[in-house]
């Protein structure tokens, strides 16, 4: 006697196949929804913003007249901000990750730090703005400078960099450590010659993605008082500054309709910058994974 009844198998077959097809379409819809919305958004920005996007737009300062308004100060400001944020956050972030993964003894304090770094990654960015305002702008009297903004942004993305660097370090097989230690290498030599070379692609990819988050952030910089209308370029890290998203935010807030179109042009510039940074991350990953 057969335990598996052919009849049951047959009748449930159709049902199973239908369910499968249903699930298929549902998931496709879910994916399509996001993509369609994104496409509409991109199309609107493109059709609105292309009109104002020309060489003049890139090389002029902000202005009261939409035809003359440009984004030069914001581009340069964003670059200055990155020049502070990138080295500070990478050095601190990678240093922290190396300490936690390589040197820290497994105890309560270490576990506490580990847990809180992941928590920090979830703290809203305004809170970091408040921190920057209190510590850098007021307490350390940096004023509303690039330095204060850059340091605040560094703190904001630090947890992301720490976590992604930790993951990159943890992915290194333990055999590599064994090989190095068994040869009489110290911990530091092992970190320098085995761990870092193997972890660098992961660290850089995570770092660039974190930096592109920083480039798009507005809230913390508004908190510490970045300017939104400047007609000069920053001279050093103590100058006042504006950045791309703040400039865009400022334009969208204006009553004149034309400025909304200018804002779209600004968004295109910002998106191109982000796209460039992401491509660099992909390039690095491909180059090293060979």
């Amino acid at each position: 006697m057969n335990l598996v009844d052919k009849q049951t198998v047959q009748s449930s077959m159709t049902k199973r196949l239908v369910k499968n097809r249903l699930a298929n379409s549902l998931f496709f819809l879910a994916a399509a929804f996001g993509i369609v919305v994104l496409a509409i958004l991109l199309y609107r920005i493109y059709s609105e913003g292309m009109g104002y996007l020309d060489w003049n737009f890139l090389t002029s300062f902000a202005s009261r007249f939409p035809e003359e308004a440009g984004i030069k100060a914001a581009i340069v400001g964003s670059l200055w901000l990155m020049a502070v944020t990138a080295p500070v956050s990478l050095l601190l972030g990678v240093g922290t990750a190396i300490y936690l993964e390589e040197y820290a003894k497994e105890n309560k304090v270490t576990r506490f730090i580990r847990m809180n770094i992941s928590n920090l990654a979830g703290v809203p960015s305004v809170v970091f703005g408040l921190l920057g305002l209190t510590v850098f702008v007021r307490l350390m009297e940096m004023g509303r400078s690039i330095m204060a903004g850059g340091l605040t942004m560094s703190l904001l993305i630090l947890p992301i960099i720490v976590v992604s660097s930790q993951e990159a370090i943890r992915a290194i097989p333990k055999e590599q450590y064994e090989a190095s230690f068994a040869m009489g290498a110290t911990r530091w030599q092992t970190v320098l010659r085995v761990v870092l070379p193997a972890a660098i692609p992961g660290i850089l990819t995570g770092g660039i993605l974190a930096l592109s988050r920083a480039i798009g952030e507005t809230a913390p910089l508004l908190m510490i008082g970045a300017l939104s209308f400047i007609a000069y370029l920053p001279e050093n890290v103590w100058s006042g500054f504006t950045v791309l998203p703040i400039q865009i935010f400022n334009w969208t807030g204006r009553p004149q309709e034309e400025f909304h179109l200018v804002a779209s042009s600004g968004i295109i510039v910002l998106l191109i910058v982000l796209l460039l940074m992401n491509s660099i991350a992909v390039l690095i990953r491909n180059k090293f994974s060979k």
Binding site: P173, E178, A179, S180, A182, G184, A185, Q189, R193, P197
Partner: protein, 274 residues
């Protein structure tokens, strides 16, 4: 000056297990050594003396503590955080666990080859030059010489001399293992610890590594873990049989295989368990 090597050769001339007195200096002295992983004891009261310039084989069933033991000899076992030990191991007359003993120095004098080949994802050249470089040798010419000598010592030179700058991951498993041996030779250790160096290799590569071990022992003291009893019988001078973390028998290889004292040794080498 060359006495150790000579002694080695006389010993080999009379390999037959007669009542001959084997004269050999002790390089490692393990005394009542116990080791725990957390609460699980892995080694029980291990006491044995490892002779200089000979091949010492460690045999025993899986999980009996062979790897744990050999990793204790260069303190690699300490990489496991939960490890606790007591008893003593002395190398060249010095207790390796005494405070102030430099573990980096120990691991410079005592090289190790692991069960699975673990070359760095660097070029063949950089793999071999790794050890000398971390010990401060910078001169290109000296490094070149060391790389060539070590690769020749590991019987790999002829196969790789034209592609030293290629990544080591492109080598076959057997070549990778010999590269690891070359890497180990490059720091000119006195002792080489090998944890089942041929378990991942095919018979031909295994034969090459075994040949290598034979040729290395005139300059080095070798401790080799193996699952393969024929291998132990072929290449070693003394053999220790481990069972459940204890040394059951530690004897001259011929004696241990022809006339074991302990019943459990006999059962194991005749294949009745393990």
């Amino acid at each position: 000056m060359n006495t150790a090597a000579e002694r080695k050769h006389t010993f080999f001339a009379n390999t037959v297990a007669d009542e001959q007195e084997y004269v050999s200096k002790t390089i490692y002295n393990v005394d009542h050594f116990n080791l725990w992983y957390g609460d699980d004891q892995a080694l029980y009261d291990v006491t044995l003396a490892i002779p200089e310039n000979q091949v010492t084989a460690i045999i025993g069933p899986s999980g009996c503590g062979k790897s744990t033991f050999i990793k204790s000899l260069n303190r690699m076992v300490e990489l496991v955080p939960s490890v606790k030990m007591n008893g003593s191991i002395s190398y060249a007359g010095q207790d390796i666990f005494s405070s102030g003993y430099k573990v980096e120095q120990l691991r410079t004098d005592v090289g190790m080859v692991f069960q699975n080949p673990n070359p760095f994802p660097k070029s063949i050249y950089e793999n071999v030059a790794y050890g000398p470089k971390i010990h401060g040798i910078r001169k290109k010419k000296v490094l070149d010489e060391i790389v060539e000598k070590s690769l020749k010592g590991a019987a790999l030179w002829d196969e790789v001399k034209d592609r030293l700058q290629e990544n080591a991951s492109g080598l076959s498993g057997g070549q990778q293992q010999r590269l690891c041996i070359a890497r180990c030779l490059a720091i000119e250790p006195d002792v080489i610890l090998m944890d089942e160096p041929t378990s991942a290799l095919d018979p031909i590569a295994t034969a090459k590594v075994e040949e290598l071990v034979q040729s290395l022992k005139k300059d080095y003291s070798i401790v080799i873990v193996t699952h393969n009893m024929q291998q132990a019988a072929r290449i070693s001078d003394k053999t220790a049989f481990f069972l459940n973390g204890e040394v059951v028998e530690f004897e001259h290889t011929d004696k241990l295989f022809s006339n074991p004292e302990d019943r459990r040794t006999e059962d194991y080498i005749t294949g009745r368990f393990g």
